[in-house]
Symmetry: C2
Subunit: 342 residues, 2 copies
């Protein structure tokens, strides 16, 4: 190993995939969109096929010390479905590959697959293929998902215009706080196994990290309202990080308003309990799997009455404008911290 070897962490996850795939080009006429969005887009004639894949690694993405296997199965499907929702599409099929060490029993795997089945039933998708193999250490789950979208309904990360309204579904930061709760209870348990965790008061937060839902319901509602976002992605790495992605793709800046960022009460109170700033949790906490999208100002009325879509600001023509207006009316520049697994 030479002194000037390049380290993965210097590139980061997104820099790394960009770097490794830069020499690849799209040569098939059916390849409409490749690396760099929530899903690849493949032309199948009448419609577009959407294809996405995600890998979950024990010790990196989940801790089996506090993650029930059926929840893990459900989540591993949901996070893939979320990528299809982020393209405004409908999921239809998945393949599941798992690598497992022989410390897992068949019963444990049955629980994992029961969770996957519950997700398949809920999102109306079929498990059509897969692979099981052994692992030298932990559990690895790799899922690929196939979905469809009408050609004129595809929504990419690219497409937002200056002054488009920025919207998010649901609320943010809850999964991050749920993780803090689980980590704290684990630490308490490890120091004193007699202690029984009391998670009931945090049930919403813990549910958000262990068993998130893909917002296919929002995709449905957008179609009902005949509202086509100009750009969309799902929030897996935190609002700030995802906003930066959209700004980079669209050569835009943004202005968001602190008092418009949706926070659940439990998130707010628990952040205070942990002596954390609730808004920072919402901006930089990951794994919410809510949808972040933009709409033209002319479509304002269509979302105004939707109880679970929140207009948090707008895109700005100045790419250097990346700010939050605080409750006090001050201006704070936003940094994307996001989650990095490296």
């Amino acid at each position: 190993m030479s002194a000037n070897r390049k380290e993965i962490k210097d590139l980061g996850e997104f820099g790394l995939i960009d770097h490794l795939t830069q020499s690849f080009s799209l040569n098939q006429t059916s390849s409409v969109l490749g690396v760099g969005d929530d899903a690849a887009v493949i032309d199948i004639g009448e419609e577009y096929l959407l294809l996405s894949t995600d890998m979950l690694v024990e010790g990196i993405h989940f801790d089996l010390g506090y993650t029930p296997l059926h929840h893990l199965g459900y989540k591993s499907v949901a996070v893939n479905v979320s990528d299809i929702a982020a393209m405004n599409g409908t999921p239809q099929q998945i393949t599941v590959s798992i690598a497992i060490s022989n410390r897992f029993s068949v019963e444990a795997l049955e629980q994992l697959y029961q969770g996957m089945k519950a997700a398949c039933d809920n999102y109306n998708i079929d498990l059509v293929g897969g692979d099981t193999t052994s692992s030298t250490s932990g559990l690895i789950i790799s899922i690929s998902v196939v979905g469809r979208v009408a050609k004129n309904k595809l929504v990419k990360r690219k497409g937002a215009q200056a002054n488009d309204i920025i919207c998010v579904s649901g609320d943010l930061g809850a999964a991050y706080m749920g993780l803090q709760i689980l980590e704290r209870e684990k630490a308490v348990f490890l120091s004193n196994p007699e202690m029984q965790p009391n998670l009931e008061v945090y049930d919403y937060l813990v549910g958000r990290i262990l068993k998130p839902e893909a917002r296919t319901d929002i995709v449905f509602d957008l179609a009902e309202k005949e509202l086509l976002p100009t750009a969309m992605m799902d929030i897996s790495d935190g609002l700030a990080s995802e906003l930066f992605h959209l700004c980079k793709q669209n050569n835009l800046g943004f202005r968001i308003y602190e008092d418009k960022i949706p926070l659940d009460n439990q998130t707010y109170e628990t952040a205070i309990e942990f002596i954390l700033d609730p808004i920072t949790c919402a901006l930089n906490g990951g794994e919410d799997y809510e949808l972040l999208f933009s709409i033209p100002q002319s479509e304002f009325e269509k979302v105004k009455m939707h109880a679970d879509i929140h207009m948090i600001g707008y895109f700005h023509a100045d790419v250097k404008e990346r700010i939050m207006v605080t409750k006090q009316g001050n201006i704070t520049p936003i940094q994307a911290q996001g989650w990095t697994h490296f």
Copy 2:
């Protein structure tokens, strides 16, 4: 862990995936074929879409002690392409997910992706998506591949009839012998690092294990000859094991002829050197990625002149008939040993 916990190894790889997915059903009208063939089949209107996925795990499927990363990249794409070829299809797109520990440098990953790019160029497929994440231990590569096949050209594992001729492409057992060579040289190197391995005389065998090719050329030739196999799969776990799969799917037995099983001279001579029976290596060695298929007897003339397709026997109406006729004319029952990673 109870005394009667079910162990994964008791089910085996194929039993396990069957067991875990038995409660899943196909509900989407577009899902034509699910778990249990080389690829899933999805109806996309004019054609069928083929979807397959494979996971390669360090320490299980490859040993970086003797596997150059660019070969590993090439192979990881080729084995997926092979699954599309096995359905008589044409590969078009792949997604690549990798999990890596930080002991890998960016340069090492560049080599891996250079190998993948070489395979994409060779098989004329596009890399359209993927994911990189960190791993707590080794390298894990998960690839999904999408292909197409005309609806009337799809070949499944099911479809063979009694008396259909059994064909294999290429030659068998070479990858297995290549692995034996590499394992031997590694052991020699570990006991005396001054020893330089001499792999040149085994170049064909080593190439077969490190850098196998998917037989897309055979799929092309079959189309040229207007020859549609009645059943097909690729040989990843050994001829005997794959023949058993086809027999189970089609409720048939088989009779194959020892003197018809294609062996390269290097495979034969190296097996003798290792005091192994060459035919056993061909029957039970894995990772050849040749195609195993059946054709009606009426199509005999179409393959007779093909230099790289070998007719090794025929399917038998009696499901209990699973035999090899030796060179001496004796009858030997065949057992499927195959490869198991558990």
